[in-house]
Each structure stands twice: as structure tokens, then as C-alpha cells.
């Protein structure tokens, strides 16, 4: 037995921890988080066994944190058998970047940070070029570039089917053409838990181990497993300005203040994290996980509303996905 086993870190999710007699548990279904966890681990191991050069896309958000945590479990005691990659749009919250680097160091990860240099040279700026163009060039194009550059054949993503309607139909192993496009009409049937990872030339695969998780599942799992997340999810006094009904954090001096606009201190937090100019904060007092979950459950606004990219046009996510955005 490996001497380095740390048995003190007992998870609350253990179905049969040492000492508990299983006879009393006969014929129970698996608890849902256990089932989801086992499924995600199974998916990750399939990829590692069959892919030539896999990578895990890491967006630093809560879903990425859960995905990373599951990967550490799936391959323990080995190191992660793939690098993790962050597509840096250069407009992420600075706290996210700090968190990313600390996480990579703590877990001994092989972290790749990719920035679309062409976009950087063009000085793409969400304030000037708009959110659609910024996302397209810095994120979508950046991702394509990185996949081509490193020749990754499979990329893990943290997307969930409950996030958006077109995602509900996406397979767990989702193919992208050599041009990185998703063709919803040409999806392979996915039977049982058998995944067909045979690729055609130039094709790459996005794999979504969290497909069947809901937002509540993610939060609950973070809570139970004590998974570290970016502090921005917790309420704190932060300088914000109000724009088009959204509260934008003044994260650095690149935020152009409009006439008469003055940053004000408010107790806010973020429900989703992306580029700071595109992520609206919500006023909140929640600074523990149960409070966050409580707030989420009581709230009447769905998760993606904080992200401005969905409002561009109807079925916009479907369009973006076809173009290669996650």
C-alpha cells in the first residue's frame, strides 16, 4: 500500500467508509452525487485511456474547480496525466488569475496559459469592440489556436446540460470538425456508458464529464468536498459601477468610466465568472457556501443571465457552439 495515503481526509461522500456495515444499505440506489461523481471519473479515465494528447480546459470558475477536483480523485495517487489549459482573454478578474496560479502550484499541475497574441496585438477590448467580438476573438479563436498549436485531440470542458437548451442535446463526447465546428445534426449516438472516441483526420473531441450535473449539484459538491473556489463567489465590499442594469466591478484601471460615473462600494458577489467587464455582480450578503446555495435557490434569475453573451441573439449559444465556442 502506498505510504502516502492520507486517510485523515475522509470525505462525507463515502458510501461505505471503513467501519460502516453495508448490510443495512442493501438495495438502495446510489445517492445522486455519488452517481454523478462516479460517472465523471469513469468518463475522465476513458479519455485518458484512449486519447493521444488530452487537455483539461480550465476556466477557473466553480465548474472547472469541481472538474479538477474529480480529476485529482480519478487518477490518485498518480499526478494528473494531462495538462490543464486556461484561455486567458486578458480581461479576467485579477483574483481569478491569482487563484489559478495558486491552484496550479498547490496541486502540482502542468498549467498552460494561452493568450490569442493576434487579438492582443489588435488590442481587442470589450469596451471598444463589444462583448461579441471580444469573446469571439479572445476566447473562441484563442481556444482554436491553442488546440491547433499543442495538437490536443481531446479537451475536457466543464459545461453542463442544464445550463442552456442546446447543451441539453450535446453528447458527453462531442466532436468538432477540423475547422472546430460542432454539427448538432451529426452527433454520434451515445449508448450506455460506451463512448466512441475514434476520430477522423483533423477532428477533435470536447468531453464534458459534468454533463449531468445541475448548478445545485455543483454547489452542493463544493460544499461537501470543501473544494476551494475563487473568493469572488463570496460577498464582500467591492467597488462597482452600474451599467445597463448590471453591476460591473472596477477590477483595474482599464475600465473606462463614463461621464458622471463613480465607482461605489457595495457588498456584492458573482454567480458566474468570466471577463470582468462582461460579468455582472449581484448585491448579496452571502459569504458562506450554504448562504450562497440558499441565495441561489431562492433567487429567481437563472445562472447565465449574469453573462451578457447569451443575450446577443436568440439561440445564440447554439450559434456560438457551432462556431467553436464551448
Amino acid at each position: 500500500m502506498d505510504k502516502r495515503l492520507d486517510l485523515s481526509k475522509q470525505s462525507q461522500l463515502n458510501i461505505f467508509p471503513v467501519g460502516v456495515k453495508y448490510t443495512t444499505m442493501y438495495a438502495k440506489l446510489m445517492k445522486h452525487l455519488e452517481a454523478l461523481e462516479a460517472e465523471a471519473i469513469h468518463i475522465m479515465r476513458e479519455v485518458v485511456a484512449e486519447a493521444e494528447n488530452p487537455v483539461m480546459l480550465y476556466s477557473i470558475g466553480k465548474d472547472s474547480s469541481v472538474m479538477l477536483h474529480l480529476a485529482m480523485k480519478a487518477f490518485y495517487p498518480a499526478k494528473l496525466p494531462f495538462p490543464i489549459m486556461h484561455i486567458d482573454t486578458t480581461w479576467k478578474f485579477s483574483e481569478m488569475i491569482d487563484f489559478r496560479d495558486r491552484t496550479a502550484e498547490k496541486l502540482g499541475l502542468d498549467l498552460i496559459v494561452h493568450i490569442n497574441k493576434k487579438g492582443q496585438e489588435m488590442d481587442i477590448n470589450p469596451f471598444i469592440h463589444g462583448s461579441a467580438k471580444h469573446t469571439d476573438i479572445m476566447k473562441t479563436e484563442g481556444l482554436k489556436q491553442a488546440i491547433d498549436k499543442y495538437q490536443f485531440d481531446v479537451a475536457f470542458g466543464g459545461a453542463r446540460r442544464d445550463e442552456e437548451k442546446s447543451r441539453a442535446k450535446e453528447r458527453i463526447f462531442s466532436f468538432r470538425s477540423a475547422q472546430h465546428r460542432w454539427d448538432p445534426k451529426k452527433q454520434r449516438p451515445e449508448l450506455w456508458n460506451i463512448y466512441n472516441s475514434f476520430k477522423n483526420k483533423g477532428e477533435t473531441i470536447r468531453v464534458f464529464p459534468l454533463s449531468n450535473w445541475t448548478e445545485l449539484d455543483i454547489w452542493q459538491y463544493i460544499h461537501l468536498e470543501k473544494i476551494p473556489i475563487v473568493p469572488l463567489y463570496f460577498s464582500k465590499e467591492r467597488p462597482v459601477v452600474e451599467r445597463n442594469g448590471a453591476l460591473i466591478l472596477v477590477d483595474d484601471d482599464r475600465l473606462p468610466l463614463e461621464k458622471g460615473e463613480k465607482p461605489m462600494m457595495k457588498r456584492v458577489r458573482f454567480r458566474t465568472l468570466g471577463c470582468y467587464p462582461l460579468s455582472g455582480a449581484v448585491e448579496s450578503q452571502a459569504n458562506t457556501l450554504p448562504e450562497i446555495i440558499q441565495e441561489m435557490l431562492l433567487t429567481t434569475t437563472s445562472e447565465r443571465q449574469g453573462r451578457t453573451i447569451d443575450f446577443d441573439s436568440k439561440s445564440s449559444m447554439e450559434k456560438k457552439k457551432q462556431e467553436g465556442y464551448f
Binding site: M1, I15, I41, A168, L191, W192, Q220, H223, S302
Partner: protein
């Protein structure tokens, strides 16, 4: 429905505790077009408070804009995701929905009713615990109802809800409802293998008997849809099933750790349990079971774990760890049910890729025994298999795999078929049973291995395979070689064309088929000799590269030494020890190698002997030098 919503505000910790305890249940909705599947699911999401305000406001807006309901909400719009299908007003792909109640979290596979999308329905059924079959009360049981029911049943879903929908449009008629239920029950009894059918009269649009009992159907006293889903008893963790775990990945971070990762397909496992590795049949004992960094006292079906064994044995992806007491079967030929999923028809005789759990093999689809007409459920003869058609056929694989019949174990009995050119998943199959030729040969776990036998003799067993024209000198060199090896204390055996044809193969003639069979038998015998630890020397013309390659594949890499006795035809003919060339030239010996039948020169023999340059004695020494140099004696 009672919902624990109230706890969210009052006691979030308690709420979370309750949520944590929820079980997971997967179900599928199916039925004909416009039977109301999307409406039913939309209604369930709505009633289980899974809709946020912005979803609702979008729904209200969309309902007015493109909705089909003149008044009220068009729930179908909630779930019909892709814009193409929203415009067409049909669901064109399988979509997964999520909602939860006090007791369970549900994953719904929303699958289309159109015939051309039967494949998506099969996809949804493959992971479902329960199926909801929707029937439009105005139309009754339709062809597609039967087809979907059959597919659901074939894929092993044991519980069905027959939801007779749109009852509001037939004035909540008890009689119509009962007629439909009766017709369906009769059909199901004859054609399906369903454990339990529960019929419920509903209106998905108006919410009758979805979450609460309807006043419009006072004659109905059974459960509502949600009551049924909340309480239906499912198999869950069945500890009595035999243990099975396909190995996905071997975790080997350093020399001190070797763990076998996989998701347990059935049964339970504890440290100390005796297990067997299939294919192959080596036994070992479970040393420990890891999940993350914790050691488990027991692990059960559905868990993804890492198993560490007592013995250092060769286990890799594609192997299955099974209970030693109750192992699965191992075979390479099966009867299977196949459902075709591709627009390009299946062609018998063509090679495809077979994938079952982590096992991959080359697949030959044999002749179709019969096709099942999913509408009449009759068996009809068929030459090929088109999209959405189901047939029973024999299949053969290029290697043995571990399996159970699908009816006993979905994970170890289900497989997908992949096209070798397009790489698409073109079919799915369910193993019925292994065919007689290799049926249920549970390989006896062999405790004494080839290595141990060889060790006893202090030699490395192998086949020294001589090939060359008749009269080239194979037998002479082989005899000298055997004498030399014998004097070195090696245990050898010689298989020679003549001695084999007088005994084992005396039933064989010299037709091409018989010659192939001759060599095949020799190969199998040689393999047994190697298994028993011997050095087996063979001397056969063996003119065809494909046969020699076949024999080579029977043993491990270094166990096959091909010796090409390269003597030009003129010299062989000149020697003509047995007078055969003369006969062949005279036309008395048909298919004589070198004269009327070709000899394919070995491409990469381990040793080539030019008998025009060296004597048989020197040739034998050359072979011994080769063996010594490569540590093969």
C-alpha cells in the same frame, strides 16, 4: 407534490442534508409525434419549481410568438432546444433534462417519436430505469407505440408507465382509457419482457394526474406520474449479482503502486475476495480498494474505484476483473440482437469495430438469421440491415472477450458497432449467448504456467518453424538440430510433414482447403507443445505467408523462429529425393509447390539458410548460434 422548498429559507443546512440523500433515477419519455412528450416534461419542470423567472418570461414570450397553444403556456417550447427543431415543431434529437423532488433527482431522456429517430430513442433507453410511453387518447395504440415499447423492452427497461395523454380531449372518458390500457396490456404480455406496467390517465397540458390526483378522473385511484416515480422500487445495488469490473486504465505512477481503475458493473467487492482476470483466466486476490485517497471496506456496482491485487499479474485495459467463484463467459462468437443506427445499411461479411465496455475487437457480422419487424414483431428473412431495423445475427470477433448475456448484465453484454472508415457509431448490439464452438468455456484457471513448466526444464519453449520447397533440406537440418539440442539437455519434439500426415492428419488430402487445415492443426499442436514448455521443431513446406503469420500469432513474440531453407527450385528438382518433382512435371501431382502451386518466400524470417553454400550440419549450428546469441535456448 410536497416540496421541501420551505426549508431553503428556514434551514438551508437541513435542506442540503436532505438533498444530499436523494437517489438518482433516470427515465425516458417516448411515444409518437405530438403525443405530448415535450409538454409532459415541460410540465414536470414547471411543477417541480425548476424554472427560473427569466426562463418563465422567455417561455411566456415564446408561447405568444411561436407557441401552438392559443392560450396559456406552451411547455414544449421549454425543452425543444435547437432552433431547427423549434421551427419544425418536432424534437429531433435526444435531450437530457434535470429536476428533483424531495426524494430523488431525475434525469429525463427526452426522445423523439419520428421513425427516423428511433436510434435516439434507443440511446435514451440504454441508460433508463423507467420508461414513460405516451399515447394520445384520441388515437390509441399506434404502430410507433409498439415499436418504442419493443425497443424499450429489448434494451432491458423493466418498468413502464403507460401514460394515456390528452384525456381532456376525449372528455376524460373512462371507457376510452380502459380500452387503450387493455389493448396495450395484451400486446405487452405477448411481445414484451416488462416486469411492471403502470397505466395512468393524464393531461400533460392541463396537469391532470401529473403531480396531484385530478378531479376530472375520479374513477382513477392509482398513483400520479410523480407519485409513481417517487416510489417505484428499483433494483439499485444488488449485491447478489456476480462481481464484474472492466479495467479502464492501469494506474502506475511508480514502481510501488499498480492499481486497476474501473467502474463496477455489478456485484460487490471486498479486500480478500478471490478474483479472476478475463480473458485469460489468471486468479488473484483483492489486496485493497481505493477511492480517491481512501481505502474502502467494500465497493459496489456503480462506483468508480481502483483495485489493487495481491499478485503482480499482467492486467491491462480490455481485461475484466470478475468474481473467481462466478466468472463471466469468455468467447469470440456470439448470437446477438443488432439495432442499426446508420443511414448506410449494414452489410453482412463486412468488418466493423466492436466495442463493449473497454474491450475493442474487429467484428465480422455474419449472415442475418432473421429481422424483427418492429411493427408486427414478426420474424422476417433479410439480407441486410437498414437504419432503425433490428435483426438477430451471428457475429465473430478476432479475439476472445469477457461477456455476460445482455439480459444478465447490460454493461458486459451490450456493445456498439463502429464503422472502420467513417469512425461513426453505426449500430448497437446485445449479446444473447456465445455460440457452441466456443460456448461457455470458462477457461480453467491454470495455476501452473508455461513459464513454470519451462523453468522446470531450464529452457525457453518455442516453435522453430522450417519452411521451404519440397526437397530443400528442411527435414535433414531439423533432425540434426534436434540431436544437437538434445545433447545440450534441451527437451525437444519434432513435427514433420510425413509423421503428422500418417496420424493426426490422415483424414486430410492435398486440396488447398485440406492443406490449410493441415497447417492449422500443426500450428495448434505446436502451440500446445510450447505451452508444455518444449522446443518444437516443425518441417513443413508451408508455402503461404498468411498461414505462417497465423501460426506466429498463436504464440508470443520470441517464441516463433522462422527458418527459411532457401534452396533454388532447380536444385530441389535435381535432388528430387522422393521422386515427387518428376511426378509433378508429368502432371501426376496437381498443386505441387514450385511447379503448379506458388511458394511465397518469407518476408522477414529470423534465419535464412542457403543450402547451396553450407552443409546441413553447419546450418544446424547457425540456428543454435542464433538461439544462443538471442538468449533463446
Amino acid at each position: 407534490m410536497v416540496y421541501i422548498d420551505d426549508l431553503i429559507a428556514e434551514d438551508i443546512e437541513l435542506y442540503l442534508k436532505k438533498h444530499e440523500e436523494k437517489e438518482m433515477l433516470r427515465f425516458i419519455t417516448c411515444g409518437s409525434v405530438d403525443d405530448g412528450k415535450s409538454t409532459l416534461i415541460g410540465r414536470m419542470l414547471y411543477e417541480s419549481h425548476m424554472l427560473y423567472d427569466d426562463h418563465l418570461s422567455t417561455l411566456k414570450k415564446d408561447s405568444k410568438q411561436i407557441g401552438t397553444q392559443e392560450t396559456g403556456l406552451d411547455f414544449a417550447l421549454l425543452v425543444d432546444g435547437l432552433s431547427a427543431e423549434r421551427e419544425q415543431g418536432i424534437t429531433i434529437d435526444v435531450a437530457y433534462r434535470f429536476f428533483s423532488t424531495d426524494k430523488r433527482k431525475y434525469i429525463v431522456a427526452d426522445t423523439p417519436g419520428h421513425e427516423e429517430y428511433t436510434r435516439n430513442m434507443a440511446t435514451g433507453s440504454s441508460t433508463a430505469d423507467v420508461a414513460i410511453i405516451l399515447v394520445d387518447a384520441r388515437n390509441g395504440i399506434m404502430t410507433q407505440t409498439r415499436r418504442h415499447s419493443f425497443i424499450v423492452s429489448m434494451l432491458g427497461v423493466k418498468k413502464i408507465i403507460l401514460a394515456v395523454n390528452k384525456l381532456d380531449l376525449v372528455n376524460y372518458s373512462k371507457q376510452i382509457y380502459h380500452e387503450i390500457v387493455e389493448e396495450y396490456t395484451t400486446f405487452a404480455k405477448n411481445a414484451l419482457e416488462i416486469e411492471e406496467i403502470t397505466s395512468i390517465p393524464i393531461s400533460a397540458l392541463l396537469g391532470d394526474n401529473i403531480t396531484s390526483s385530478s378531479d376530472n378522473t375520479t374513477w382513477y385511484t392509482g398513483p400520479t406520474i410523480m407519485e409513481y416515480l417517487e416510489t417505484v422500487k428499483l433494483e439499485g445495488k444488488n449485491f447478489s449479482n456476480p462481481f464484474r469490473m472492466p479495467v479502464q486504465w492501469v494506474n502506475r505512477p511508480n514502481l510501488d503502486f499498480r492499481g486497476y481503475c474501473g467502474m463496477i458493473a455489478s456485484g460487490k467487492i471486498e479486500p480478500g475476495d478471490k478474483i479472476r482476470i478475463l480473458p485469460g483466466g489468471k486468479n488473484s486476490t483483492v489486496k485493497s480498494i481505493l477511492f480517491d485517497n481512501k481505502e474502502l471496506e467494500i465497493a459496489t456496482s456503480g462506483q468508480s474505484v481502483t483495485i489493487i491485487l495481491e499478485d503482480e499479474i499482467d492486467v491491462s485495459r480490455g481485461n475484466m476483473i470478475v468474481s473467481a467463484e462466478n466468472p463471466s463467459g469468455e468467447a469470440d462468437q456470439f448470437q446477438a440482437h443488432i439495432l442499426w443506427l446508420s443511414d448506410d445499411a449494414m452489410i453482412p461479411g463486412r468488418q466493423y469495430i466492436f466495442k463493449s465496455n473497454s474491450q475493442i475487437a474487429s467484428l465480422n457480422l455474419g449472415k442475418l438469421k432473421y429481422q424483427i419487424n418492429v411493427n408486427s414483431l414478426n420474424h422476417v428473412p433479410a439480407k441486410d440491415l437498414k437504419l432503425n431495423q433490428i435483426a438477430v445475427c451471428n457475429i465473430s470477433l478476432d479475439k476472445r472477450i469477457a461477456f455476460d448475456p445482455y439480459k444478465e448484465n447490460k454493461t458486459t453484454g451490450g456493445f456498439i458497432i463502429i464503422d472502420k472508415i467513417t469512425n461513426h457509431t453505426v449500430g448497437m448490439g446485445l449479446i444473447d449467448f456465445a455460440l457452441r464452438r466456443s460456448d461457455n468455456i470458462h477457461w480453467q484457471s491454470i495455476d501452473i504456467t508455461k513459464e513454470q513448466r519451462a523453468l522446470q526444464k531450464s529452457q525457453s519453449p518455442k516453435i522453430i518453424w522450417f519452411t521451404g520447397l519440397s526437397g530443400s533440406g528442411k527435414s535433414s537440418i531439423a533432425n540434426i538440430l534436434e540431436k544437437k539440442l538434445h545433447s545440450m539437455g534441451r527437451h525437444t519434439i519434432i513435427l514433420d510433414g510425413d509423421n503428422i500426415r500418417h496420424g493426426l492428419n490422415k483424414d486430410l488430402g492435398f486440396t488447398e482447403a485440406d492443406r490449410v487445415e493441415n497447417i492449422r492443426r500443426v500450428g495448434e499442436v505446436a502451440r500446445l507443445m510450447v505451452e508444455s514448455g518444449l522446443i518444437c521443431i516443425t518441417a513443413f513446406i508451408s508455402p503461404f505467408e498468411s498461414e505462417r503469420r497465423m501460426i506466429r500469432s498463436l504464440v508470443s513474440e520470441k517464441e516463433f523462429i522462422e527458418v527459411y531453407v532457401d534452396t533454388p527450385l532447380e536444385i530441389c528438382e535435381e535432388r528430387d529425393v522422393k521422386g515427387l518433382y518428376a511426378k509433378a512435371r508429368a502432371g501426376q501431382l496437381p498443386n505441387f509447390t514450385g511447379i503448379s502451386s506458388p511458394f511465397e518466400e518469407p518476408e522477414n524470417p529470423e534465419i535464412r539458410i542457403d543450402t547451396t553454400k553450407i552443409s546441413p550440419e553447419a546450418a544446424a549450428d547457425t540456428i543454435i548460434q542464433f538461439l544462443t546469441k538471442n538468449h533463446l535456448t
